[in-house]
Structures are given as C-alpha cells and as structure tokens.
C-alpha cells in the first residue's frame, strides 16, 4: 500500500538500528519517553523494540486521551447522560473507560442513550434529527481533537441549534510534560514529541524542554520508521551533548502549528484553573472549558454536573508507569487484578495505554521471543 509500506521497510529499519547501536555509549542506560499514546501503539503493534539495544528503554508517556480521564469525570458524564431526554455521544474508545459504576457500555446496557460517533459533527446530525432531545457530546482529547470540537461548536452556533452541547474534557499536553519533568524521581534522557498534537500547536511550545531542562525533543510521525528515525535523532543529540527541538514529522507538522485550528480553539474555549488527570493528579492550567460567550453549548453550564471525585485505587501505580519509574509489568496488579477486560488503572484502559499495549502485544520478554522465533 503506497504511503504506508514505505514507512515500514525492514531493510531501512535494520540500517537505522545499526546506527542507533553505534551511538550508544558503553555502560550508559538511556530512557526515552514517547509522549503520545499513538506512538506507544505503533511501537508495540510493529514490534519496534526488537530493533533497539538493551541499553535503550522506551517509557510510555501520558499522551493517551482516554487514559487521563479521571473516574469522577466518567461518573459526571454518566450523570449527564442519564437525565431524561438526553442523548450522549462519544468516541468509540471512550466507551470502555470505567467510572466507579462501570463504563459507557455498561450504562448503555442499562438503557442510557449513549451513541458512538466518529466525528463530533455527527452529533450535530443527531441533534437535528432529534429536536425534542438534548444531545451532549463527550469531548475528550488533547489539542489533536480540540479543533474538531471547536469547529462543531462554531457550526452549532452558526446553525442556531439549541439542543446541542459539549461536556468538555479537553486537556493540553505541555502542562502534563512539565509535571513529568518537575517530578523528583524523573530519569529521562529525551522525548519523542507527539506528532498529531504538534500538527496543531507546532514545535515551538517544546522549546523550554530543550532550553530549561536540557532534554532533546524530536517531534515524530506515527509509522514505525518515523519513530526509529526519531530515536536515532535523539541519540545523535545525546552523543553530541546537544538539546534542541527537531521536527522529524515535517511532512505533516508545520513549525508554527495550524493557525486556523488554534484560532478556533481560542474562540470557543479557555483554560481551566486546574484539572484532575488520572494517575497524575491535579495539574494547573492543563485543560480547556467552553468560553462564557458559548455557554449555551456548555453542558456544565446547562446541566447540574455533580462534580464526582473518585480516588485512584491505592494499588494502582499508573503514575509511576507514566513517569517511567516503573515498567508496566512491575506494577503489583498488572495482568491479574488489572487487565484490559477489567482495567483498574488508566494505562490499561485504551490500546494506546502503556499497560494495555504491553499486555496485548508485548507480554513476553525479549529472551522468550528469541527462543520461540528461532526454534
């Protein structure tokens, strides 16, 4: 398949892998974080770690949009959805995220009208078809999906729809990265920057990481060769003791981002003073809410949202996994109490979460893989 297979060429991967090995200083361990869950998924789906020397460990970061939604927020959404004459719409991978009383799928089975959509604009279609109902879109995601939510609000306003609103849970990536950088137990050497988020915000927002924290950043694409090349570029910077922001994904990411998308977000949304992230706790100025001018499209303004808070279970060590302090399998409940069927922690929820990716795709040690594939 064109424009896909070129980025999965194993000969090129072998060549890059050899260069990466050549850049490793003897005896030094490297920890590189891929911030985005999409990267985590690619790494596991294609078995990319098989190309890396033992000295390099990939740490799976907080950039999985459904993983970071706290249980209380899911409960709030469910409270909204179960009000009379309400239709809740949601992206597919939000459907399985557990609240304290089950997931959207469970609520659907109990009779709550929750529908899966592929684009927030589909929610407008549902609103037009059901003028006697209130349609609420469960808006989640980083700057990647925020523009499409913003455009949907603008479209609803232009059409004068009065039975559509959003339950805004959009979060922003930079405060999360900063929270990880400021964590005292951090031991990271560099960052594989989130490609999709960067198509919107560009590369400039990462400059403080290189400048103030001395860690290299390479914004990467989502095919396995993109990621391998980004690891090579990070290793090259480390070997030269440099720390700058580089854009590996220049075929998609403009250095200054997407001005139109940023404007749409700015027009409809504003920063919240603080927001709770699963596994990471409260982070200030890390999430978006609907601007007052568009309050009639804000479910939090139109409805009574209970503001439920559910503590992360103590046994859950997602925070440590997200910061790279623990590997997924080092968590005490990994794979036994916490599985993709019954995810307790954030990282097991979506296929983009570090634990789910490891459980579904990677569960074997490299040694066992080697034995099985050569026998």
């Amino acid at each position: 398949m064109r424009f896909v297979d070129e980025f999965r060429d194993s000969d090129k991967a072998h060549a890059l892998a050899a260069k990466i090995v050549g850049l490793c200083e003897p005896g030094r361990q490297y920890k590189l974080m891929e911030v985005c869950g999409g990267h985590t998924h690619t790494i596991y789906k294609h078995g990319l770690e098989d190309y890396l020397p033992e000295q390099i460990t990939l740490v799976h970061g907080p950039g999985c949009p459904v993983c970071v939604i706290p249980m209380g927020r899911v409960d709030d959404a469910m409270a909204l959805a179960s009000q009379p004459d309400v239709i809740m719409t949601s992206f597919g991978d939000m459907m399985r995220v557990p609240g304290s009383n089950g997931s959207f799928f469970d609520a659907k089975a109990r009779g709550t009208d929750i529908r899966m959509v592929y684009s927030p604009l589909d929610s407008l279609k549902i609103a037009r078809q059901n003028p006697d109902k209130q349609v609420i879109f469960m808006a989640i995601g980083f700057e990647t999906t925020a523009p499409s939510t913003a455009m949907t609000v603008l479209r609803a306003a232009a059409e004068g729809l009065d039975n559509f609103s959003i339950f805004c849970n959009h979060v922003t990536i930079i405060p999360a990265i900063k929270a990880i950088l400021d964590s005292p137990d951090l031991r990271l050497d560099g960052f594989i920057g989130p490609g999709h988020v960067s198509t919107v915000i560009g590369c400039r927002p990462y400059e403080f990481i290189a400048r103030d924290y001395g860690k290299p950043v390479v914004v990467a694409g989502f095919e396995p060769l993109d990621i391998l090349q980004s690891i090579y570029l990070l290793m090259l910077q480390l070997s030269r003791q440099e720390s700058v922001v580089q854009n590996q994904y220049s075929r998609v990411v403009p250095w200054d981002g997407n001005v139109v998308a940023l404007r749409a977000i700015g027009q409809t949304m504003q920063l919240r003073p603080y927001f709770e992230w699963r596994g990471l706790g409260f982070i200030s100025h890390s999430a978006l809410k609907v601007r007052d001018e568009y309050a009639k499209y804000d479910a939090e303004h139109l409805f009574d949202v209970p503001g439920v808070r559910v503590a992360d279970p103590k046994a859950c060590q997602c925070g440590e996994v997200l910061k790279g302090v623990l590997k997924p399998w080092e968590c005490k409940v990994f794979g036994t109490a916490c599985t993709p069927e019954t995810p307790i922690g954030t990282c097991m929820v979506s296929p983009e979460g570090a634990c789910a990716a490891y459980y579904n795709y990677g569960r074997l040690t490299r040694q066992r893989v080697k034995e099985a594939t050569t026998s």
């Binding site: 194993s10 709030d76 992206f91 597919g92 557990p98 089975a109 409940v333 990994f334 794979g335």
Partner: protein
C-alpha cells in the same frame, strides 16, 4: 468541579483487588514489597506466570447485564459462553466448543450446528442475510469434516417488514442452498411488534454426515504443523462496516460470503494430514489462532507478510485503526495441517475456485504455550491476543 469535594471509591475496584489478594496469597509466591529484589528478567518471568494463572482461572461474568462486548467474539464472548452456557449445559459433546458437535446416530457419525443471523444492513455488497444464514451453517458443518445435508430456517420478523425484502432474502437462501447442495427441510416463523426487532433475524440449524472418519479439532494441533488460510481475510467485516454508511468511506469491497463445503471436500479427499478447520467468522483469524493455541497448549507463530489481505481492506482498516486479523470473514477458513503436508494442502486449496489465493501464514510451535505471536512486516515480533470486545476505532 472542585478539588475540595468528597472523594469516593469505586466498589468494583475494591472487589477486584480483594480477589487479587486472595489469589496471590493462595498461589504462595508473590508477596507485596518483596524485601529481596530479584533480577529484572526473573521478576518479569514471575509476573508472566502470574498472568498465565489469572488467565486460566475459572471464567466469571463480572457485569450484571449483557453488553455489546458479549456478542463481539472476543474475550467477553468466550467468558459468557464458558461461565453461563457451558456451565449450564455441560456434557462431553458440547465441551470441545467446536463449530459443530460430533454425534453418533445409530452408529453413524453426524455433525450438528446452529447459528443466528442479525446482520445490519440486511443487504450489502456481495450478499445479504439470506445467503449468510445458509453459508454460515453449511460452513460450521464443513469445519467438523461433515458433508452438510439438511438445514432448518427460523425467521423472527418485525411488524411492518416489507414482503419484497423477505422474498429477496428467501430467494438468495434458495440459491445459496442449491449452490451448497443442501435442503431447507423445516422452519418456523414469528412476528414481533414494531420496534422489538430490527426487520428480520434468521436462525438456521444444520446436520451433516461425517464421511472421512477423521477427528478434526483445534486441540489436535501439534508443534511443526502449518497454518493456512483459504483466501484474503477481512472482506466481509469491512464491507459491512462500510455498508452501514456511518463512516463516509467508499471502497470497492464485497463480502466473501460463500459455502466452503466443496473446498473442504477436496482438501479432506486429497490430503491426509489435516488436523483442524475453522471458519474465521466473528473475531477473525486472530481469534481462531488463539483458540488453537489455548486448546492444544501450543504456541502459534504467523508472519504478517504472508497473510493475504486485499489492499482496499487494508486501507479501510488502516484508516479506522482496526486490525484485519480481527475482522470477520464469512467464506474463509483457517486450516491446521501436518507440516509435511503443508505444500500439498496449499496446492489443493489453490487448485479449487474458492481457494485461489490460499496461503501458508505460519506454523505451530512448542513454546510459548497458549500464545499467538506475529512476525510483523516491519521486522518485529508481537503478541496477537483475543480482543476484549468489538474492535473500536481509535480517536487519533
């Protein structure tokens, strides 16, 4: 939302953790906060063993209501079948959970099966619910090595369903039955009030005679066996997803719905080393491979580059973030064949009009038992596990 509000806990989490603690304690050798840290690889092995134990534990349905995941063919379906149906009806004929039961009637080996069809939309490129209902049951019998003979047809119709549509469905059932050489010999009709069903549901049951006397089953797989598929995978599932019209994606794909009895007959006539056959319906090829690994206690290693997938199917799956390995087929089978007979089996399948694009996609290994591994096109290796529920599109 405020940060000062009361903080609750989730009851189901506490419950899961209590059960976890009980299991860990009874297993004996995993304790929280072990004072002597073991080397990383040893600890990882211990964790993997612990997971294996958890996966072998008696299945239990945690939900108090049926969700869509229970019908998706993945782990939730398997748990429901084992914890509810197998538990209620347990007997040696049911226990293998094969596509069809193998019975003896007056000493003659017979296969029996049943399947219900609720596809939406009822009509789709390449077929409709009618030929699906005939082919599906014909195929389930064929996978047991039986020659399908007689089918039943039960219809649940919704008040207001157009008669023209019903005639179109019965005509395609008649044609499919003629193609497969079976007869519909008994039936049933029920009509339910508008809104209580989605147009038309069909149940078919079937019986067939097992002529080859060979006992086929996924538990028969042995290390060294070859794994074949009879053609490109995922056509049916992708066709249905696109035919629902929710995605605004257009692609030139049609369902692969077809009877496999003729293809199976040639294979069993000409190749003696066939161990197991499975049609890759709900849950796709990945689910079948997991059933092989679990039932036979073997490993399975497949090579992504060798798995035939049409470019249109791959493209659509790529766009939706879905893996074709999990997408349903309605006219493709997976065959497990003794290693020495692999090339012969491939030649026989390819010589048949329904198996022209058959391929050897991998082999059965001794290690690691119960695990399916995929050598990716990119050159890495990963696990292919059962899906938890429906393959859900990822948002970014």
């Amino acid at each position: 939302m405020t940060s000062e509000g009361p903080v609750g806990t989730a009851g189901w989490v506490e419950q899961a953790l209590r059960e976890h603690d009980e299991n860990v304690d009874s297993a004996g050798h995993v304790h929280r906060g072990s004072p002597q840290p073991l080397p990383g690889t040893v600890r990882e092995e211990l964790v993997l063993e612990r997971i294996d134990r958890a996966r072998r534990a008696r299945p239990r349905v945690r939900e108090d209501r049926i969700t869509m995941s229970h019908g998706a063919g993945g782990k939730a379906t398997q748990t429901l079948i084992e914890a509810v149906f197998l538990d209620a009806f347990r007997n040696p004929l049911l226990e293998p959970l094969e596509d069809a039961a193998r019975l003896h009637v007056n000493g003659a080996p017979v296969a029996m099966t049943t399947d219900s069809y609720v596809v939406s939309p009822l009509f789709f490129p390449g077929g409709d619910i009618g030929d699906l209902a005939v082919n599906g049951t014909v195929n389930d019998l064929s996978m047991a090595g039986a020659v399908p003979l007689y089918l039943s047809a039960g219809f649940i119709l919704e008040e207001g369903f157009p008669l023209a549509d019903l005639l179109r469905i019965t005509e395609s059932m008649r044609n499919a039955a003629a193609r497969a050489g079976v007869q519909v010999v008994t039936g049933d009709t029920k009509v339910v009030q508008k809104g209580k069903a989605d147009g038309c549901y069909i149940n078919t049951a079937g019986v067939g005679i097992i002529e080859h006397g060979r006992s086929l089953g996924v538990a028969q797989a042995r290390p060294g066996d070859a794994i074949l598929v009879s053609g490109p995978i995922g056509d049916h599932g992708v066709t249905i997803m696109l035919a629902r019209g929710e995605l605004d994606i257009e692609a030139d794909v049609v369902s692969d719905t077809a009877p496999l009895n003729s293809l199976v007959a040639s294979l069993l006539d000409q190749v003696t080393g066939v161990r197991a056959l499975r049609d890759a319906t709900r849950g796709g090829v990945a689910t079948i491979l997991n059933e092989v690994a679990t039932a036979a206690g073997v490993g399975v290693l497949v090579t992504e580059d060798d798995i035939p997938v049409r470019a249109e199917v791959r493209g659509a799956a790529e766009l939706l973030g879905i893996d074709p390995m999990y997408v349903a087929c309605e006219g493709r089978m997976v065959a497990i064949v003794e290693g020495s007979a692999a090339e012969q089996a491939l030649a026989v399948l390819r010589a048949h009009p329904d198996g022209g694009q058959a391929a050897i996609i991998g082999r059965v290994t001794a290690e690691p038992p119960g695990v399916v591994q995929l050598r990716t096109s990119f050159g890495g290796t990963r696990i292919v596990d059962l899906l938890v529920g429906d393959p859900l599109p990822r948002i970014c």
